[in-house]
């Protein structure tokens, strides 16, 4: 199964793997090298890769992907509660249930395209969210969120050894995943690397080419002899499974699940990550997710006091208004920053960070700007 990647793709994949595994060293200088943050970057990177398989390849903009994260989380926590604290069955169940869920939602939503599709997915996500808060409370524990408790059955765990004292931790046999250690980070990192590998394969497969052709001219696809709906549905389910796996990992690193994960603004967040990084590129979504999670971490921890420290050297007459203005954007105002950055990206750099890098690259290589439309990262090399 390792055959079939071109040399460039192998290089990309190995470089990606190296960067992810070495994150604890690479992120040291910018103060982000702690497991809790890095695993979040990996989880959201995985989520964004999956979202990009749908949006980047087919152009179908889903506003309901957070629902899959929620389903994955709930499935994983139930697995912890009922079966075992081992992560493997939890992730398998998360994938299984999101796949079914995505199949149903996709089957219905994909009967329409364009804005109608977006609104249908949005409607489904809102329905799931509302139901999770109301009638499904026995399954979701409503506002409190689904948590572990001491008297959970955990039938498989109890078969092997009795209940220990205190709440058990999520594990991979002898390795503890939850609780913010490096094991949690490396679990998420491996999932991300695997997800990235599959994503490269999909991008380079005939299937990926068909999806891109659908995005380019769906009507022509029909007259070319393709039944486009199953292609779209497959892409939708694959992308939903990525989201479900991300949800499962969220639950594995921090074993609780709440309905707010399904809110449509959470769907908006993954759209944002994908756009920021670069829609339709391989690594863009991961970069977008990492950047957003990093700055979220920094910005939301900033307060007025920190700003006063930073700008303390300025005269008060300048410092105070400056700090007052900047304080809009930090702390609780982090979402404002996010909104502004997002707008700027959509307006001025629709290709995201990857396009920005490419422009800079072209600048230095003195190539004509005309060929920036081509996306080197997204071009198959069939003849190699």
């Amino acid at each position: 199964m390792f055959a079939g990647l071109s040399r460039n793709d192998w290089f990309l994949f190995l470089a990606f793997t190296a960067v992810i595994l070495l994150m604890p060293i690479i992120l040291q200088p910018i103060g982000a090298a702690y497991p809790a943050l890095m695993q979040k970057m990996c989880i959201f990177g995985l989520f964004a890769i999956g979202f990009n398989i749908l949006f980047g390849l087919t152009g179908y903009l889903s506003f309901g992907h957070a629902a899959f994260v929620g389903v994955g989380s709930y499935a994983a926590v139930w697995s912890f509660k009922l079966l075992t604290m081992n992560i493997v069955p939890a992730l398998m169940l998360a994938v299984f249930f999101t796949a079914i869920f995505a199949l149903v939602i996709g089957y219905v939503s994909l009967r329409r395209s364009g804005i109608y599709f977006s609104i249908l997915t949005l409607a489904f996500a809102q329905m799931s969210y509302n139901l999770a808060y109301s009638v499904l409370t026995p399954l979701t524990n409503g506002e409190t969120g689904l948590q572990l408790s001491l008297n959970d059955p955990r039938v498989i765990d109890r078969l092997f050894d009795g209940a220990g004292p205190g709440l058990p931790r999520v594990n991979f046999f002898d390795l503890y995943i939850s609780g913010g250690g490096y094991a949690g980070f490396y679990t998420c990192a491996l999932a991300l690397i695997a997800g990235f590998f599959i994503s490269i394969r999909i991008f380079r497969s005939p299937f990926g080419m068909m999806l891109r052709a659908i995005k380019s001219n769906q009507n022509r696809m029909r007259y070319t002899g393709f039944n486009t709906r199953p292609y779209l549905l497959a892409a939708f389910v694959i992308s939903g499974v990525y989201a479900g796996l991300a949800g499962g990992l969220m639950a594995a690193t921090d074993p609780l699940a709440g309905a707010e994960r399904m809110q449509w603004t959470a769907s908006g967040e993954v759209v944002l990550m994908t756009i920021l990084g670069g829609v339709g590129t391989l690594v863009g979504p991961v970069i977008g997710a990492a950047v957003i999670k990093y700055f979220e971490n920094i910005f939301s921890s900033f307060g007025d006091a920190t700003l006063h420290d930073v700008f303390g050297f300025l005269p008060d007459a300048i410092e105070d208004p400056l700090v007052a203005f900047l304080s809009l954007f930090v702390g609780d105002g982090w979402h404002l920053t996010l909104g502004v950055v997002f707008m700027l990206i959509v307006i001025f750099l629709p290709g995201g960070i990857m396009e920005g890098l490419r422009r800079i690259w072209n600048l230095f290589n003195r190539r004509r700007p005309g060929d920036r439309e081509a996306t080197p990262a997204a071009q198959p090399q069939p003849a190699e």
Binding site: S6, S205, P206, S216, R222, T224, F226, A383
Partner: protein, 253 residues
């Protein structure tokens, strides 16, 4: 009537609102022939073609391909049966490269209407790449195989469109004014190309204005005027038909 008719348009009527676009159309296209449909503007040629590929449903009558009624089938099903249309206005995949543009229909031919192969390596599908390159070569675009299709000139897009049709090696190829907007030189090479495919048993229906193209290629010519067939026969016979000359020159409308 010989029994080897590939396509039989049987007694088709079609009107839009009160306007009769097609009436009493009964037409047989013989296996392996090149059948031209000509007629002045507004004669109903495009409507007829759209009926043949399932884009429009006839009000009455039916279109039978190879013994099977295709009326009411999905466009992709009709394509999979072996009917391929080359569009008049280029309907390509603008964001894909030329090679990919031709590979996509080749996949439809090889893998059918849907195949789930998300983990298959493209490089293993050498037969597809070979077919696509071959067709690109036939239309003279092989040297630009990695260019993005949107960047092509209009004439080149037409040639790409042709390659996308030919790569499926269809049983019936419907060509909608394949040389419109081409230079004389390109027109001649297109004629040569289409002649080359004649030997391979591909049946072709051509809608064309350019009489030079029609009489170079066609084995049989059907003339439409105001939604009706006014003449049908071998090219020489049709050329001498006074009704045809009247429709083209007399201008009763």
């Amino acid at each position: 009537m010989p029994s080897n008719a590939v396509l039989h348009v049987a007694d088709v009527h079609k009107s839009f609102g009160g306007l009769r676009a097609l009436s009493d159309i009964d037409l047989q296209v013989m296996e392996g022939t090149t059948h031209a449909i000509i007629g002045p503007n507004g004669a109903g040629k495009s409507t007829l073609l759209n009926v043949c590929i399932g884009r429009l449903a006839p009000d009455t009558g039916a279109v039978v391909f190879d013994g099977e009624v295709i009326t009411g089938k999905q466009p992709y099903e009709i394509n999979q049966m072996g009917i391929v249309r080359v569009f008049q206005t280029p309907e390509i995949f603008p964001d894909l490269t030329l090679l990919q543009n031709v590979m996509v229909p080749a996949f439809a031919k090889h893998d059918g209407a849907f195949k789930l192969n998300p983990m298959q390596a493209m490089a293993k599908r050498t037969e597809i790449i070979d077919d696509a390159m071959h067709c690109l070569n036939d239309v003279g675009l092989a040297h630009q195989k990695d260019a993005v299709a949107a960047s092509l000139s209009r004439g080149d897009k037409r040639r790409l469109e042709l390659a996308m049709g030919l790569v499926q090696n269809p049983r019936l190829l419907l060509l909608d004014e394949p040389t419109a907007g081409m230079s004389r030189h390109d027109t001649n090479s297109t004629i040569d190309l289409l002649k080359k495919f004649k030997g391979r048993g591909m049946t072709k229906v051509i809608i064309e204005h350019d009489m030079h193209v029609v009489f170079s290629l066609a084995d049989r010519v059907t003339v439409l005027a105001q939604g009706r067939i006014i003449a049908d026969g071998p090219p020489d016979q049709v050329r001498g038909n006074p009704k045809v000359q009247e429709a083209y020159l007399g201008g009763t409308h």
